[in-house]
Structures are given as C-alpha cells and as structure tokens.
C-alpha cells in the first residue's frame, strides 16, 4: 500500500477552487477546472509531427513511460498514427481529463484521444474535421478546459489566412458552440484599446476564475506559421504580420475588456497559483521579454515588460515557458540557442535569470511535474521553423531538477526511432482513473499481499 499511497494523485474539484485552493497543471500550466497529478506521472503523451521521408511520415501521439519504477521506464510504449501531416501542435485535456484534444494548425483537424480507458494506450475517440466550416477560424491552437467546455484558440481565419482570429468554444462532446472574435479597431467588441494596438490576433488562453479573468496572447497567421522560417525572416512584409497584443477578457461573459500593447508576439501565458497572486506571465517571442499582467491596487489590470531574456538583439526566440507551483520560478526555453533558462520570479516585477542549460541544438516545449522535481523537454517548434539538416535534432529529454541543476535521466531520439518531430507534452497517470499500475498489481499478487 505504501507504493499506492505514494501515487499522490488527487482531483481538484471546482468547489475547492471556489474556496481558494487554486490549481493549474503542466502539470503546472493547465486548466484549473481539471484534475491534476501532484505525484509521479506514469506517462508523457507527445503530440508529434510527421516528417516527410521519416518512418510513416504522419502525425502521431507518442506515449512514453516516465515512471522510474516501471519496467518500461524511458521507453516508447505506444504510438498512434492519425493520418496526414496536419501541423500537429498543441493539445489539452477535457475538464474530466478523460480525453486529450490535439490540433493540427494546417488541416485544422482536431483529434480527440481517449486517455482514460488505458492510459498506456490512448485510442482515437473522435476527429473533428469541420472546425473551419463551423467557425471561420483557422489554426486550432490551445485547448483549454473550462467547465464542461473546451475553449480553443485560433491563429488565423479562412478569409485572408492572416493573423486576425478568434477563440472557438466547443462542448466536451465535441459540438461547436460559438466563436469569440478578438477585438479589432473596427469592432473592439466593447474592449478598451489601452494603447496603440488592437490587431485581432490570438495564440494562447489562460484563466484566473477567482478574478473572473481570462487572458489571450497573439502570434501570427497561417501564412507565416506555415512558411519556412529563414524565408520569413528575409521577407520584411511577412515580418510585419505578428501580434503585438494581449487581451483581458471577462471569463463568464467571454467579452474582451482591455487590449494591452505587447510588441513582438507574446505567446504562452502562465498564471500564478497562490490565491493572493493576481498575475500572469507571458514572453514575447520576437522581442525576447518577460511580460507581467497584474491586477493593481485599484483592481485594474495592467501589463508591463519586467525582464529581458538573453540578448534580445540576437533573437534568442523564447518559446514555451512554465511556472513552478510555488510561483517562485519560471522556466523559459529559447529556441535558437537550444537553452532552457530558469528565472527567479519571487518578485514578479523583477525576474532574474539564475540558471541556464543547453538542452539541444533546438528546444521548444517544457513540462514539469507539480513538485518541480522533474522536467521534460521537446525540440520542435513548427515543421517549417525547425532548424535544418543536422541541427534538426528531434528529441524528448527527461531531466530531474535538484534545485541547482538539471540532470539528464534519459533521451528518446525521435529521429533515430523514426517517429517525427516532438512537440507538445501532456502527462498521464493510472491513478487519475482509479486504475492500478499493471506492474504493481502483478507485484502485489506475486508477494501474496
């Protein structure tokens, strides 16, 4: 039983959040409406891009066993090919965490995987292929669970395939409900344009339910995110088509309230955990800054650049970020130099980089455990933005963090295994569904317990 008790898996119900036990996940970066894993995760699901000329060339969900006590620790235990190269990108669990929704930014297909029946072997439950026909939005990006709903951020639209876009709300059953367009100058939708910009772009979404606040950031449209990265950098017109805004929304009414100027493509949004910490971080990909959105003493939300990341003039390109569950640390990956950087954010207005490590020739995503002791990294940014030739390393790397440094535990080489390009990670665990780990169940029988 001691092993079972060490699972440390618990569900955080909405009622708990209402009384102040705020809880996100990445395990530390996901929706507060969702059960989270606070102990040892069993699996990492890697939403993987198919690559021409490699293996079966198509997108797939790769399941890696990450539990050190498992006989399969460090191994790929399942792959599930879905057909086509859809520009696999991000994914998110439904609020009951039984299904994983994963999107393709090019074909706009949404693959809903059953991860609860057998967490070791997800199955394809449903494919939504009329996302664009229903919403007019292109590029389903973030899948963010709200109560009974899935909020999907878009990156583009089916009219000019530029950056103006919307959030699209679906039911947990996979039915389209409504499209929430981002505020533009022509139609601010009741929002205040606090600065010079209201570009209508979108990217990520996060919510602070106790403040009735929801935040979105802004990236670029289909034309740019599908384009060869080097070609784009050399195309001055294309480089003008990036988002420079973040938007504060009323969570309950889904209405935009305030547009913040945030030049240089703010991407991932991570909100603090402590019930008294009314702030969220984001980083700008092109201008390499950490931004803080915070509620001031008058209850007004503000946005402020609080730190540089590396040398912005060298375009380190900060991509994924992850906040620790104690709100004291922020991991920031810089794609171009392949580094992860750890910022002390004890004072959110003065983030200070205290550690860095090169993970590979390129690095994008991070997922850390709730206790912060484990961190996983993957390499791919976008199919046509990834580095070329031998610098196009594609990997999943598992590290432990001892508080001072990262220690590599194992690597899965996605090229050598002919899997594709490794993108977003999500955690799975038997305990979430009241299931016992099969190898532990066997041990129990063998030892006569």
């Amino acid at each position: 039983m001691s092993k079972l008790s060490s699972l440390l898996i618990k569900f955080v119900a909405l009622s708990l959040i209402m009384v102040g036990a705020a809880a996100h996940a990445d395990e530390t970066c996901m929706s507060p409406y969702m059960a989270k894993i606070v102990g040892q995760e069993d699996f990492v699901y890697v939403w993987t891009l198919g690559e021409e000329g490699l293996g079966d060339e198509q997108d797939k969900l790769v399941t890696i066993d990450v539990n050190p006590i498992s006989p399969n620790y460090g191994e790929v235990v399942n792959t599930l090919s879905v057909g086509g190269r859809n520009e696999a990108h991000h994914s998110g669990f439904s609020d009951d965490r039984r299904f994983l929704w994963a999107g393709g930014l090019d074909t706009n297909k949404i693959f809903i995987f059953d991860v609860h029946s057998d967490p070791a072997k997800p199955t394809l439950h449903k494919v939504i292929d009329d996302f664009v026909a229903k919403s007019g939005v292109v590029g389903p990006h973030t899948f963010y669970a709200l109560a009974g709903r899935m909020m999907i951020t878009g990156l583009s639209n089916n009219k000019d395939h530029g950056g103006r876009t919307a959030m699209v709300e679906y039911s947990n059953q996979g039915n389209y409900i409504v499209t929430h367009w981002h505020p533009t100058d022509e139609d601010l939708r009741g929002a205040e344009k606090s600065g010079k910009y209201a570009d209508g772009y979108g990217y990520d979404v996060r919510a602070l339910p106790r403040r009735n606040a929801m935040f979105t950031s802004s990236f670029t449209g289909w034309t740019n995110y599908m384009m060869d990265f080097g070609t784009m950098l050399a195309d001055p017109e294309a480089m003008k088509r990036f988002g420079n805004t973040a938007v504060l929304w009323d969570l309950h009414t889904r209405k935009p309230k305030k547009v913040f100027d945030m030049p240089g493509a703010p991407l991932e949004i991570r909100c603090a955990w402590d019930p008294n910490h009314n702030y969220c971080f984001t980083t700008t990909a092109l201008t390499s800054q950490i931004w803080l959105m915070y509620e001031d003493a008058d209850g007004e939300w503000q946005a402020e650049a609080v730190a540089d990341i590396g040398d912005p003039s060298k375009i380190p390109l900060p991509v994924d970020i992850s906040i620790t569950s104690d709100d004291k640390g922020l991991w920031v990956q810089t794609f171009m130099d392949g580094k992860t950087r750890y910022f002390d954010i004890s004072d959110p207005f003065k983030p200070k980089q205290v550690y860095e490590k090169e993970i590979g020739a390129q690095v994008n995503m991070i997922s850390q455990s709730w206790d912060g002791k484990r961190a996983y990294f993957t390499s791919s940014l976008l199919a046509n933005w990834d580095k070329k030739a031998e610098q196009d390393e594609q990997f999943f790397k598992a590290y432990t963090w001892d508080g001072d440094k990262l220690n590599l535990e194992f690597t899965v080489d996605f090229k050598a295994k002919k899997l594709g390009s490794a993108h977003q990670m999500r955690f799975g665990a038997y305990g979430l569904y009241g299931l016992k780990r099969p190898y532990e169940a066997k041990n129990l029988v063998a030892s006569g317990e």
Partner: protein
C-alpha cells in the same frame, strides 16, 4: 423587451453597412509598421461581407480603356460556368489536404494577389519561387506565368492544382472524382455543361471566373480615353508625361490608341533575376521584430532555420536557351497600386522602390534588355510617376472584391 429592441437595432445597423467601405488593402493594415508610432487599423473578420456582382455582365460589357474581350477569350462567357468557377476558386477542399484554395494566394482585397509576403506559400507551407500575379484583367495576358510557359487560362489552372508546392492534388482524376461525388457541384456541372465535371470543364469554369475579373475605367482611362480633363490632377498628368516620355516606361508597358494593357507581352531581362541568382549573400540582414524595432541578424542564424532558396533562371527554364536567362514577362500595370510587392520575385515592397530601380538602369548584366538604361529622373519626376501609377485602379474593383467577399468559402463539413 428593451434588450430585444436594442439587439434588433444593432442588427439593422450592421446590415445597413455600405459596401463602399471595402478597403482595397489588407484588412490587417500594417501601414507605418516600420515606425515606433505605428497604430493598428484592423478590420473585423465577421464584418468582411460583400454583395454578389453580375459577373457575366462584367465579362460582357465594354470597359473604358480595355480592348473587347471577344478577341481574347476562349469561350463566350456563361453565367452558370462563371458561378462554378467562382465556387471552385474559393474552395479550400480543392487541394491534396483539403486546406488550400486559389484565393489563398490571390486574395481579393489584396489586388487578387498577396500583399503580405514576397512569394506565396503552398501545400504544407512549401515555398514558391515567384510572386503571385494579380488576376484582375488576367484574360488579356497572351501568355501565362512569369516565364510565359502556358497559353490559356483553362489549361493554366491545372498547374497550381497539381504542383506539389502549391495545391498538390494527387492527380487530375482525383479532382474530377471529388467534384463528381459532391452533389452540389455535380448538379452545377450538369446544368452548365450538360455533363459531369472533367478536366476540360473544370479548367473552363475557373478560366471563366477569372475572365470575368475585368477592372478598368480608371481615372486614367477617363482622362486619356474618355476625354475628362480633370480626372487626373496636375501631378498625375505630369507622371503620364514621364511614363511615355523621359521614363520610357511605355516602351514595354504599352498604351495604344484605343486601349491600354500596359504590356508588350514580351519577356525582358531587367537584372532583377541576375541579382537574385548571382549576388553574394550579405553577412547580415535587417529583420523587423516589432513596430520600430529593427535588428541586424547574422546570415548564419537565418540559414540555420532557412531552406536553400530555389534558383530561378526565368524563361531559360522553358527554352534552355542561354539568351533567355533571367527573362520575365512584362506585367500589365492596371491596378498596380493594389498589387505590391513587385517584380517576379516580390523583391520591391513599394512602387517607389520599383521606380528607383528603373531610374538607375536596372542591374547591369550581359543580357540586360537594351530598353533598360539609367533614366536620370528628378525626384519630382519620380514622385509624379508614382502618382500616375496610382491612377490606374479600376473604378469597379470594389465591386469585384465585394462579390468575392460574398462568395462561399468551401471547407470540409461533416
């Protein structure tokens, strides 16, 4: 009750929005983005609504400044055929992964081309090596593509439909089968052609939609062909003098007595292609990161994330005649103010850059067209020339764009 009344009022207002508001430029305006004081001027996507136009009438009627269509067209225009072509043109299912339509590179409000990048991208983001041409008045091009390799629109459509870096349909038959299986399309083809979709009538339909995109009766046309002396201002009239005189622009961009297509239908080496193929790669490039934020970036950094640029030898690629290296078709200049960026590779972002390029005599090379030479235009003359080029926008372009906004966008539906 009050809320309902307010709702009804807002709907009425939205419907009453006049079409004259259509902006002939990207709805996501980036005018002045180079400067730190840039402010957005973005349009709403849901408000991008239009009114269907009578495209048959547009194809059949005479347009001041254009020759009659009958001397150019392959088939007499037909409303039902145009309607199929219009539907196909905006249909994103017409590609290998059901994601790309013709209209994604030929964006209506962007001059039926792409203003937002030098060279468009195709299937799975694969790069194209040449700028997307406008489709306004495309029927008057005697040859198609920048290297003039194709002769008719009805044939031309199959190149992008099948090209692996464009729409990447696996075969002619797969497109034909897809349309035959679609009950809506099948009905339309039967009604228009008396037969199911096939390779020929698909080409005809897309060709006829493009043939209907005639756009003239510009302020220039009214002044030059219509006798309206005030239709061009003094600066524009001065620009016309430069265009036909000192600037020698009209030696390639022809204007005839009765009409003007602003092209000689020939191919020329201006040096743009030579420069592209032969120049040394600079050590750094300037990259804009945000409004007013520019950095010099080491070329090595760009190369690490960039594919090797495909070479482009122009007409030579068709004829294999070394004399045809870096020759490209002279584009017409109607609606040229709407079709940035310019040249076969989209190298120049503005007409000012184009004028500066020709003013210095192009790029010297062994095969430079003898018509290209330093022009010695004053700043005032260049300004006038720029103003003149702005007068070539057809009076009915907004109607065509509005019609395109009203067209259905084909997407996969369950």
């Amino acid at each position: 009750m009050l809320i309902l009344a307010l709702l009804l009022m807002s709907v009425t207002v939205a419907l009453a929005e006049p079409m004259s508001d259509i902006r002939l430029a990207p709805g996501d305006s980036r005018q002045g983005y180079e400067r730190a004081d840039y402010v957005t001027d973005s349009l709403s996507i849901p408000a991008r609504q239009g009114i269907s136009a009578n495209l048959l009438a547009n194809a059949q009627s005479s347009h001041l400044g254009l020759p009659t269509l009958s001397s150019y067209e392959q088939e007499p225009p037909d409303a039902a055929v145009i309607e199929i072509g219009r539907k196909l043109f905006f249909d994103r299912r017409l590609s290998g992964n059901k994601t790309m339509s013709c209209a994604m590179c030929h964006i209506p409000e962007q001059g039926f081309t792409s203003n937002e990048l030098k060279r468009p991208i195709g299937f799975e983001g694969r790069g194209l090596k040449r700028n997307a041409p406008t489709l306004l008045n495309v029927v008057f091009n005697r040859r198609l593509f920048w290297d003039a390799r194709e002769s008719t629109l009805a044939q031309q459509v199959w190149s992008p439909l099948l090209a692996v870096n464009e729409m990447n349909n696996p075969s002619v038959g797969s497109v034909v089968d897809q349309l035959r299986k679609d009950t809506q399309y099948d009905k339309m083809f039967e009604q228009a052609f008396g037969e199911s979709a096939n390779m020929l009538n698909i080409g005809q339909a897309l060709a006829q939609y493009q043939q209907s995109l005639l756009a003239a009766d510009s302020r220039f046309d009214r002044w030059h062909f219509g006798g309206n002396r005030t239709s061009l201002n003094q600066l524009e009239q001065k620009g016309f003098e430069v265009f036909t005189g000192k600037g020698s622009c009209s030696s390639c961009h022809h204007i005839s007595d009765q009409h003007a297509l602003f092209t000689d239908h020939q191919l020329h080496n201006t040096g743009v292609g030579v420069e592209d193929s032969m120049r040394q790669t600079p050590d750094t490039i300037e990259v804009q990161l945000a409004p007013g934020v520019l950095v010099e970036v080491d070329q090595k950094l760009v190369s690490v994330v960039g594919e090797v640029k495909e070479n482009d030898l122009g007409r030579y690629e068709i004829t294999l005649n070394p004399k045809d290296r870096w020759k490209y078709r002279t584009p017409g200049l109607r609606n040229v103010a709407l079709t940035a960026p310019y040249m076969h590779n989209g190298e120049f972002l503005s007409l000012d850059e184009v004028i500066q390029f020709y003013n210095k005599g192009g790029v010297s090379n062994k095969m430079l067209s003898p018509l290209i030479r330093p022009l010695d235009l004053t700043i005032e003359e260049q300004t006038a020339l720029r103003a003149f080029l702005g007068s070539l926008t057809g009076s009915n372009v907004k109607d065509l764009v509005s019609d395109a906004f009203a067209a259905p966008v084909g997407d996969v539906s369950q």
